[in-house]
């Protein structure tokens, strides 16, 4: 049942470090266009997508990667949602590395995921949620593995080729969760300055580890702040500018997924989307991609498809749930 193809690149910490050493870690301006940012994703790359399920998904970046017709990607994300379905139906992805994939409880098991995985068109490499988190964390720490007490004794062990290790102090056998060094990290954050210093509100998900482990880091942000504002609250910064390669200013950059405190996920939209899939299967997703991804030339055009009233409603709902700040 095991998969002998656990990509060496994924845990080769020496190669991963050499890539970073060869790269400028600069306090330079990082602001660019979404097209330029997404162009740093190449066919065959292992891309890690930040956020979690329908929270803080870097939707503008995902959309642009699809528009640029990338192929043969490995998509690593702890819990996958619509972005995974898009990539499957668009033919962008060969393998997903995840702990769970579907849209959300009310909509049942993802029919798209079932079709593509059961049909052997996409490989589903499953890790436990913590194990995947530790894969990103090991990469962020620059080590090839982290010891853990999870996944042992389960049939998940051979799926991704996880090995065990004996603790040199007590002799206890532990899981040795291998690092996952992505080629590219795609993230969406609340605010960043032009040097790429990023701040996130609310739950941080796994974004920080993903970014620190990746060779290239692309970030979209709801808001651009001045360097002065970053310096006013340095304890809010979660990524330093020298980690970030490209930064794009994209308000509503996760929509129709949520962004903590700013807008709630658009459940009505999910309802419509899953309804169409129930009626027409993968074709409904292909149609959706045509309408939402390929047709609108800019992200503003994309947001227009939802309409300002809808966006404002989702903002109000967020304020009801997170009144603070």
């Amino acid at each position: 049942m095991g998969d002998p193809d656990l990509t060496p690149a994924a845990y080769d910490f020496v190669a991963a470090r050499r890539r970073l050493e060869a790269k400028a870690k600069s306090a330079a301006e990082k602001l660019t266009s979404i097209e330029d940012a997404a162009a740093r994703v190449h066919d065959g790359d292992v891309i890690a997508v930040g956020g979690c399920l329908f929270s803080r998904t870097p939707m503008a970046l995902v959309r642009e990667v699809l528009r640029q017709r990338r192929r043969g990607l490995t998509l690593a994300r702890n819990l996958m949602c619509t972005e995974g379905e898009f990539m499957m139906v668009a033919g962008a992805v060969e393998r997903v590395v995840t702990a769970w994939m579907s849209i959300g409880l009310p909509w049942g098991v993802s029919k798209i995921m079932r079709e593509y995985v059961e049909g052997g068109k996409v490989a589903f490499e499953e890790w436990s949620h913590l194990a995947l988190g530790l894969r990103f964390r090991a990469a962020a720490m620059g080590v090839p593995f982290l010891p853990a007490l999870t996944m042992l004794g389960s049939d998940l062990v051979p799926v991704g080729g996880m090995k065990t290790i004996d603790d040199p102090y007590t002799g206890t056998r532990l899981a040795a969760v291998p690092a996952l060094f992505p080629d590219v990290a795609l993230l969406h954050v609340h605010r960043a300055d032009r040097l790429g210093n990023c701040q996130i509100d609310g739950y941080p998900h796994m974004d920080v580890d993903i970014a620190r482990g990746a060779a290239t880091v692309l970030v979209t942000t709801e808001e651009i702040i001045t360097e002065e504002e970053t310096r006013r609250r340095p304890d809010r910064t979660v990524l330093p500018g020298f980690v970030v390669d490209a930064l794009v200013h994209v308000p509503f950059g996760s929509y129709p997924h949520e962004c903590y405190g700013l807008y709630e996920a658009d459940f009505d939209h999910f309802e419509e989307y899953t309804g169409a899939i129930n009626a027409r299967g993968a074709q409904a997703v292909a149609d959706y991609l045509g309408r939402y991804v390929y047709a609108p030339p800019t992200y503003a055009d994309y947001l227009d498809l939802f309409g300002g009233e809808r966006l404002a409603r989702q903002q109000r709902q967020a304020k009801e749930l997170v009144p603070g700040s």
Binding site: N78, A123, E126, L130, T150, T172, L174, Y203, H205, V322
Partner: protein
């Protein structure tokens, strides 16, 4: 309010009673979160709810129940938002007492399958969503409680795939696999409450819900259940319990 409990209400109430005060519980969305919130409001005011999305101590807004573990509804009025990996590391360190899980298949040793039906992982007959945090919860919490509808297709002799290990093959096999802590202590279903024989770690009937007959349980279980020395009958959900539950989910999104 005095209407008989639905299956989901029954599960939530029976689940909530498993939780003691001054503890922590790792709860998924839906019935587990309702069970935890009920316990907190009724008999365990110093219980801390922990949600997989990186959320500690949330207070659910009635009528705005979350549908995922990582969204603003799940994080409503939380005390801390430490990130997902760190929430699981709290469990690995030993800070999380209880964990609730469910599953598409559950076997006689409490192993759970939420990965795939069929024998070939890479070409499954039915691909399921995957473990999410269930594997970690069953590996790392001090005590795991399975909360599930009781159906024959779900209660199988051996799961097709062990996503989340219960007692594995029984007889110490869990510890030998390197899972040094925890284990499934209870299976709370729509028919009764089940535990495990301390030696063989095979599932056994410990209590039946009021009105449930033993043959009904056996007919709805795909393997041979052991019996505790004395099989108790659970107290039915009280009006107080149901009142609290129904106030939490007025839209009956999860209560059925």
């Amino acid at each position: 309010m005095s209407a008989a409990a639905t299956a989901a209400e029954l599960l939530a109430v029976m689940g909530s009673r498993q939780l003691t005060d001054d503890t922590t519980v790792f709860a998924g969305v839906g019935v587990p979160l309702l069970a935890a919130a009920l316990a907190q409001q009724r008999h365990a005011p110093r219980l801390t709810i922990v949600v997989e999305g990186g959320i500690i101590g949330p207070q659910i807004k009635p009528g705005r129940l979350p549908i995922s573990t990582n969204e603003m509804r799940a994080g409503h009025r939380a005390l801390m938002l430490p990130g997902i990996t760190d929430v699981f590391l709290f469990a690995q360190r030993g800070f999380l007492d209880y964990g609730f899980v469910g599953g598409a298949q559950i076997d006689e040793h409490g192993n759970i399958n939420t990965t795939a039906l069929g024998s070939d992982y890479w070409r499954p007959q039915v691909r399921l969503p995957g473990t999410g945090g269930a594997n970690d919860i069953t590996s790392l919490c001090r005590e795991v409680i399975i909360l599930t509808a009781h159906e024959k297709r779900r209660f199988v002799k051996r799961v097709d795939f062990i996503t989340s290990p219960g007692w594995i093959d029984g007889d110490g096999s869990r510890r030998r696999a390197g899972l040094l802590f925890g284990g499934v202590s209870r299976v709370v279903t729509t028919l009764g409450i089940f535990g495990f024989d301390p030696e063989s770690r095979r599932m056994r009937i410990e209590a039946l819900h009021p009105g449930v007959a033993l043959p009904t349980v056996r007919d709805n279980t795909g393997f041979e259940l052991l019996e505790a020395d004395k099989i108790a009958v659970t107290e039915p959900p009280t009006a107080g319990e149901l009142t609290i539950l129904r106030a939490l989910d007025p839209e009956r999104r999860f209560l059925g």
